[in-house]
């Protein structure tokens, strides 16, 4: 336990670090600035903004802001990107409750009961409970990361290449099984991503692979380029053909009486606890993350409630549970990334991209070699959650006003912003064109109901998987049974196979889809 505290202490030290800023115009006078706190605040605010605005997803934003963080120190960059992710969970709930527009996929279910509460004039308590639930979940998740971090890292360090490869396979299978849509198509997307990651020069032999002597491809496809094309540009194109402005009829009533009543608190405390627990578990599992956590938490509350008919008519548990769950999951999904170096979902894949760009190879060794990076990020999450709790409620009015910005003005801004961002990574116009091409590819994928998120996971894990596969087979002298004969690897592979079979079984597939249909009716 002592370890946990000293580690968190180190983390908070990093977060509250002051940097002396000596601007030229002050004539040599230096001002101490808490850079990391500021970055955390900016990240959380941008995240909230993204969560509020429908039409820009979290993945797209993190991708868009990747180039901006290149100039920052790695700790600051990661703190800011993490802030965007959990900030978006807060922001999404605000618009779900006030105007019935979930700005974020994770808060779709919050709209069911939250908006009903707002209609009954109880928007204040709904917002307060959502914020409090999220904050509680955020605290629990931070502690959980701190407690689980060290032991999981030790475990992962004992892994050889065969175990590591099996672990990645298991992670990818999990990601597929827990995601929405067809399992087969999701696996196809992973393999497509793996194939795209092969472009460029081979790490071991240096041979140029599938680059067609195009100099810009010699280093491989840029990660930021792919992500921005697939998520930024593709989402814009898709939104444009969804036609006309979405009707944004706002309920313009004043939010009065923020404080929930004693009965509200009593009703939702168990819901927050259950939501946090469920969200934490689903977040740790690869493929989990905020979306499925909120759906699952809502479904569970409805199932165990004594009077389920209240749900959909303004039940406060229906706001408390999914909001705690999505925030818990958003944060615990950092656990596999920080301890094992395996991104469990697309946003975490982008974090891997950010780490690689800063020269950090993700994996268990990060926690040992750069403890200030990992613990600083973990501590920043708690600080960020606290800031969100304090600033979010007073700012509700501004967020709602922002919803009035029409999409016809927003999307050209995003296009230009993305284009400049991609160009600034390598100063290469070809990267901008490639991102455009990936945008069209992404549009095509959406049209054919292929999820782009697994593709991104495959792209990130590709080089790691190849390297470990190579090493595993080299050590075993070309014997493929090594994955089944080494016990840990065999167990991991068996779980992966078992999950895959489960996912294809019709009865289970129906259950899985059931969790997702809640939003549609």
């Amino acid at each position: 336990m002592g370890d946990v505290f000293s580690n968190l202490g180190l983390g908070f030290g990093v977060v509250f670090q002051l940097v002396q800023w000596t601007p030229a115009f002050l004539g040599g006078v230096s001002i101490p600035i808490p850079v990391n706190i500021l970055l955390c605040l900016i990240g959380a605010l941008v995240g909230t903004l993204v969560g509020v605005l429908p039409g820009i997803g979290t993945i797209a934003t993190v991708a868009m802001l990747l180039p901006i963080t290149f100039g920052l120190p790695p700790v600051g960059a990661l703190i800011m990107l993490a802030g965007i992710y959990y900030g978006a969970q807060y922001g999404g709930s605000t618009t779900s409750i006030l105007v019935n527009i979930p700005g974020e996929a994770g808060s779709v279910v919050t709209a069911l009961d939250g908006f009903q509460m707002a209609k009954q004039g109880r928007a204040g308590p709904a917002l307060a409970i959502a914020a409090m639930g999220s904050f509680f979940a955020g605290c629990v998740a931070t502690v959980l990361i701190a407690v689980l971090g060290a032991p999981l890292t030790k475990l992962a360090l004992a892994f050889g290449p065969a175990e590591y490869f099996s672990l990645m396979v298991l992670g990818l299978i999990f990601a597929v099984v827990l995601a929405k849509g067809s399992v087969l198509k999701a696996i196809a997307m992973i393999v497509f991503g793996l194939l795209l990651s092969m472009v460029g020069s081979d790490i071991e032999t240096g041979a140029s692979r599938m680059a067609f002597n195009i100099p810009e491809l010699a280093d491989g496809l840029g990660f930021a380029t792919l992500a921005m094309g697939l998520f930024g540009f593709a989402e814009i194109i898709r939104n444009l053909d969804a036609g006309g402005e979405t009707d944004r009829q706002l309920v313009q009533q004043k939010v009065t009486g923020l404080m929930p009543t004693r009965k509200d608190l009593k009703d939702c405390t168990p819901a927050i606890l259950r939501g946090t627990a469920l969200g934490s578990i689903l977040g740790i599992l690869p493929g989990g993350g905020a979306v499925i956590a909120s759906f699952a938490a809502y479904t569970m509350e409805k199932k165990i409630s004594k009077n389920p008919e209240r749900f959909g008519r303004g039940a406060i548990e229906g706001v408390a549970a999914p909001e705690s769950a999505n925030n818990a999951a958003a944060q615990t999904s950092f656990i596999p990334l920080l301890t094992l170096g395996i991104p469990p979902n697309a946003v975490m894949a982008l974090m891997v991209g950010a780490m690689t760009i800063h020269g950090i190879v993700p994996g268990p060794q990060v926690m040992q070699k750069q403890p200030e990076l990992v613990w600083g990020m973990i501590a920043s999450m708690w600080v960020g959650n606290l800031m969100l709790l304090i600033i979010n409620l007073p700012l509700v009015g501004i967020w709602v006003r922002l919803l009035r910005v029409p999409y016809r003005l927003m999307f050209p801004s995003i296009v230009v912003f993305c284009a400049i961002g991609i160009y600034s990574v390598n100063n290469a116009p070809t990267d901008v064109m490639l991102a455009g091409a990936f945008g069209l590819l992404g549009y095509w994928l959406i049209k054919h109901d292929f999820e782009p998120a697994p593709l991104l996971l495959g792209m990130v894990l590709g080089p790691l998987m190849e390297e470990n596969l190579r090493r595993a087979l080299l050590i075993s002298r070309g014997d493929w049974t090594v994955f089944a004969t080494r016990p840990v690897s065999a167990v991991l592979m068996a779980i992966a196979a078992f999950l895959l079979v489960l996912a294809v079984l019709p009865s289970l597939r129906k259950k899985r889809d059931e969790v997702f249909v809640e939003s549609e009716n």
Binding site: I187, F233, F417, A419, I420
Partner: protein, 166 residues
């Protein structure tokens, strides 16, 4: 985030015996991608004894994708599925044009001109554009980006056209 917009089905270009055209076409495209990747990596060295050559992994994933593509195609053949939805042309066209124009203009013309031009071109992507507003917002955004990237973030971007710098 992931629901596809449902427009009416496209007028039948697919024969009736294909029961899920969306998956069928998706599968065929995956097969094409896989074949292309297999062809592109065919000049790379394969296994040398126990160790992987440069071409082993790409070929492995290529064959895997080929198999999955065939599976998706078969699913599209034998099970009832979605029709292919209509593709809009206006959004994709102008957004692509805006991206292309930025890529071609940034080197010779500098950030200010290329950002504004591509803003205006992408605004053509929707019929709802009101030009007065668009131009004002375009100018503001260009000004914001011209401050953010070179000054606040310190990225070496050229602001003005080459011929004006001299």
């Amino acid at each position: 985030m992931s629901e596809t917009p449902s427009h009416g089905p496209v007028k039948y270009i697919m024969p009736k015996w294909i029961r899920g055209p969306q998956d069928f076409v998706g599968g065929v495209a995956l097969i094409a991608i896989a074949l292309f990747a297999l062809w592109a990596s065919s000049d790379l060295q394969g296994m040398r004894g126990f160790s992987f050559g440069a071409g082993t992994a790409p070929r492995m994933f290529g064959f895997l994708l080929l198999g999955l593509g065939i599976a998706v195609m078969i699913v599209g053949l034998v099970t009832d599925g979605e029709h292919i939805t209509t593709y809009a042309w206006r959004g994709p066209l102008f957004v692509s044009l805006a991206i292309l124009s930025f890529a071609f203009m940034i080197r010779p013309m500098g950030l200010i001109f290329s950002a504004f031009t591509s803003f205006v071109i992408s605004a053509l992507g929707t019929p709802e554009t009101r030009w007065g507003q668009t131009i004002i917002v375009g100018i503001c955004l260009t000004a914001f980006c011209s401050f953010l990237f070179p000054y606040a973030l310190g990225l070496p971007l050229q602001m003005l056209p080459k011929f004006m710098i001299r």
